[in-house]
Symmetry: C2
Subunit: 210 residues, 2 copies
């Protein structure tokens, strides 16, 4: 094991440090966020900062760095109050990654990458038709993190679309069966291979596979 | 594709909904958080809510539900200001899962599960000796999320230990090579298989593998 001290980390070249620190968080959720501006122009952006906040009501969080291409997504969410979250799969991950390029505001990442916008009646933001697990989110709270200027967006999951056969009898959604991918660092994409689902842990028993 | 409306989600049985909603976030980081109380008693707890907040300075976030076994971890962090984050691998994931059992405050999850505490000079919180990627964190900010009573803890990564051979020339850490696992839902553990690392995206080119 090699020790990297805080001084060593502070002295790292900026891009090297970004790659290094972004890796430490482990394998992460990677999703496409679909939005629309007040004129109806669509936008699509890849995020690896989605996290679970609560199940009842169903809340999720996303972290925004306002100085990047994500700013179109953020301003669209603030304008319209809604967004979609779409899981990646093997057929679309390269197109998904490409949405992180700095396209001008008037060019939709759907058009630029060849992903297909799909709309649900009564909901403004576009879904990604090629995504097999996707859901609609309504903005609930925007929390600026004073510590470094990032913004935490909390949203409520309203409507969910997924293939019925991947929902298990206990509510667990088998994302591996859906082909959902995970990512690490800033640019590494991975499929998964299940080891086990483990039973609810109790002090007096040892974890069993479900 | 099946549609689950917000009414359908609100009407789900509580545990079913917890499993369902926890799955939607995609594959997640899963780590062991090591802490110590003011008397020096060690505590270890599994978390799947770690997320990246910034690389310079290096900040990470963790979400706490204060009504669960996580409360020992939270109170220890508040008391001592420090914690460790330790990646899971195939050899320890069952023991890691078992730390989520409701052990009494006076029983260390290290002892209960057979994981080995390891200390670094000058740092109070215990690392997991069996973890191949681990780092020390200092508490920076505790943000109560009024929307549902969860707590967001922001910490600064200070010292990192990992096998030197998994650090790539550009700073990327090859977690797959380290055997780091990912999880989905509340109880499903997965190894990964890399598809590709993709080059930094630019509007006028198509993503290349690195």
């Amino acid at each position: 094991m090699t020790h990297h001290s805080s001084n060593l980390i502070a002295d790292m070249e900026q891009r090297y440090r970004a790659a290094f620190i972004n890796s430490l968080g482990g394998f992460k959720s990677v999703v496409l966020v679909g939005t629309v501006d007040l004129q109806g122009a669509t936008n699509l952006a890849i995020f690896n900062s989605l996290f679970h906040i609560g199940a009842n009501p169903p809340f999720c969080g996303l972290v925004f760095r306002p100085d990047t291409v994500e700013r179109h997504t953020l301003s669209n969410i603030i304008s319209t109050g809604v967004y979609t979250i779409n899981h990646l799969n093997e057929r679309i991950y390269k197109k998904a990654h490409q949405t992180s390029a700095r396209y001008p505001k008037d060019q939709s990442e759907f058009e630029a990458t060849g992903l297909t916008p799909e709309f649900s009646e009564g909901f403004q933001a576009p879904f990604v038709a090629e995504s097999r697990v996707r859901f609609a989110v309504e903005m609930r709270e925007k929390i600026p993190l004073g510590i470094n200027g990032t913004i935490l967006m909390i949203g409520q999951i309203t409507d969910v679309w997924l293939p019925e056969e991947i929902v298990q009898p206990d509510g667990f959604v088998d994302l591996e069966q859906a082909g959902t991918l995970t990512c690490s660092g800033l640019d590494s994409y991975h499929r998964t291979q299940r080891l086990a689902r483990l039973a609810y842990a109790k002090p007096d028993t040892w974890p069993e596979c479900r």
